[in-house]
Symmetry: C2
Subunit: 143 residues, 2 copies
């Protein structure tokens, strides 16, 4: 539960810190990797919009206090880095600790921003694909 000592020098390092904090249920580290912007936002799979540090960090605190460390692997599918902003498309494989269920595959769009001396997580938009209905057949009623 000790805060991270390094300041991420790249978006990839920031992403490592983000997922490490999740893996270890480390609220201090999670707090340190989010942007200081009042506009930061987080959308958990199937979740409402959470905007601002309090709402976002409280949601992670709730997750951390109600769970054992999950098994978590993530894979960077795409990244685009500009001078002060980076877009990452990530596939997360998450299995709750002790669960015999197969891992859930979550898709996440993560945005990192350069703030001061390091990179921070600005937004995390995650979603859980429903059962496959067809190769290119999304929920037609919504879009």
């Amino acid at each position: 539960m000790s805060p991270t000592s390094r300041i991420p020098q790249t978006p990839v390092e920031a992403e490592e810190d983000f997922y490490t904090s999740f893996l270890r249920l480390d609220a201090d580290r999670m707090e340190s990797i989010w942007s200081e912007s009042p506009d930061l936002y987080c959308i958990h799979p199937g979740g409402e919009l959470l905007q601002g540090r309090d709402a976002v960090l409280n949601s992670w605190q709730n997750i951390f206090t109600s769970a054992d460390p999950p098994k978590l692997e993530y894979r960077l599918l795409y990244s685009r880095h500009e001078e002060k902003i980076a877009i990452h498309l990530v596939e997360e494989n998450i299995r709750p600790s002790g669960s015999s269920h197969r891992a859930a595959v979550v898709l996440a769009s993560n945005v990192y921003v350069l703030e001061g001396e390091g990179w921070r997580l600005f937004s995390h938009h995650a979603s859980l694909p429903m059962m496959k209905r067809g190769r290119t057949e999304p929920d037609r009623k919504m879009h």
Copy 2:
């Protein structure tokens, strides 16, 4: 079904074209607003990852050929513009044509990029919040 004649000069214009093409089921306009990058991606609500122009545009074609024009309103909740990239957080209110159901509220993270003479849509990650279970209580099993 005529292609759009303007080249979006701002991310906001690109977003207008994106939602107008959806509203009018205009496949030509939809094609013109997406990035030429092979890495572009689209995640429809509850959908799998679609990556590349063919997969993304085919998905919209499928939607357009199976639907009447929806009622659609969108609201830009947050935007951050850099020199060549822009992040938009959007709330979409969508009601299928002729439906008496209340509108679905979809959250979308849209990324726009400056390509050549104009702005294009690079990624669209949309998700549909499930029923509210608590203010900051996402799906704890996933995160």
